[in-house]
Symmetry: C2
Subunit: 308 residues, 2 copies
Amino acid sequence: MAAFSFNKLVIFGVGLIGGSLARSLRERAGATGRVVGVGCSAASVARALDLGVIDEVVALDDDAALARALEGADLVLLAAPVAQTGLLLVRIAPYLAANTVVTDAGSTKGDVVAAAREALGARVAQFVPGHPIAGRESSGVDAALPALYVDRNVVLCPLAENAPADVKRIAAMWRATGACVHRMSEAQHDRVFASVSHLPHLLSFALVDQILDAPDVQLKFSFAAGGFRDFTRIAASSPEMWRDVCLANRTALLAELDAYTDVLARFRAAIEASDGAALEAAFARSRVARTEWQEGGALKSPGESVAK
Amino acid sequence: MAAFSFNKLVIFGVGLIGGSLARSLRERAGATGRVVGVGCSAASVARALDLGVIDEVVALDDDAALARALEGADLVLLAAPVAQTGLLLVRIAPYLAANTVVTDAGSTKGDVVAAAREALGARVAQFVPGHPIAGRESSGVDAALPALYVDRNVVLCPLAENAPADVKRIAAMWRATGACVHRMSEAQHDRVFASVSHLPHLLSFALVDQILDAPDVQLKFSFAAGGFRDFTRIAASSPEMWRDVCLANRTALLAELDAYTDVLARFRAAIEASDGAALEAAFARSRVARTEWQEGGALKSPGESVAK
């Protein structure tokens, strides 16, 4: 594990993602810097303090404490729901020193970058957008693990304004947790995750929603088995988080949803026309691709790696 | 485990389902009767014979051998793809003794019953439609397990013409494998499984299909993670089987697909209108129901049990 050191890391929102970063840098990378948690939810940061994940708690609405927290901080991580990004950056801006690098962990990037530009103006150069791909159904700081990021992907979407050294520093931080760091444009990021993450969540929520409004709902749940279980596992995800993701990544998500609806219409027509050959060919192509993906075959090449 | 005995069991299609029944009755229920495998695929039954799952192989197109196989058989299981049900029953009909009870393991029931009525005429009274809910991604006789049916559900859809004693015999056979036996009408069965099994498979195949035709396909697969993995696990299922299921259960499946498309249109409108409250309420309702289902709570009551 690469060594990594920092002076002071300030984490806004100490849940699964922020808590796991703090634990990983300390317990795996041997970092000894101070970790300050800023509470969006007071109960959550208090719990993080109890667990020893952070050294100090600061309330978001306490100007003086926030100023002290950010003083001498070399790293800031925003790990609160993406919809709060703009508000948090507006709170941070007055106290942001010139040598502090800010990054985030939001699942969408276009909206985050727009909010950062609005909140920070020219100092957006200090903001390196990021997204660690490490969701779990469980959330909150109790679920935080020092090994959460080992072999996980972290996507950085550097801005034209970012200093290369700042991007490298954030990349080094994530590498120290055991993650693989990749680089994409914001637009590419949002298209990719609308497709492989946001849309499946929406589709999974939709299936449970449909059954709940259908006749025989009790009987249907009684006979739901393994296929239903796996398909709907992500329908147990956080409603608030996925509401925010759907709205934050609206443009890319609606494009993917429309393309998906077109595929369903094609499948529907094949079923109605008893076109077994078309169905079998489509299913067979999907099966091959899904199997190759699972086996880490040709399709699973990594994204463009960020320069060390 | 309940004891169960038979004189001769003839299985058409000795793969995962038929092979597991044979192994379970012998290895768990202590049955000593003869098991004959009739090959839809010659390689598959030969393998079943090699593995000791069956005692004898008969080719489907050998009239004399088929007549001998069915002579003295008290039980027949059809465990080939549902689309073959009619053809198999036409082959069986000339040699079907009056005291033989035939059942099947098809995932759809309306089409199976229609095919059985056409193939057997008045002797459809000897056919007790059934569906063991025990799919796995792996198929074939090598995947067959004696414990496959333990605590799994088996649905029987008895016909008005069936003798109650014949229905009880098939129910006893499945109970001897460790399964829980339930009873539904064919229409109810097909609606329930269109909703909780067939539609999710179609939706899962469709997501992979959509990605394969999209730009950035390689990048998308590279960054697909746990949510995608679970959502698309069933897209690695057998294309032939799911083609047949989609066509066999067309009416119920299209009704479910249309209702699902309506939910997607509602979600789409909420996203477009930035109606976060509507999205969050829908996601929260789905999350609660999915979580209760997983925990075996109020929604997971068993179906109506068949009388012993």
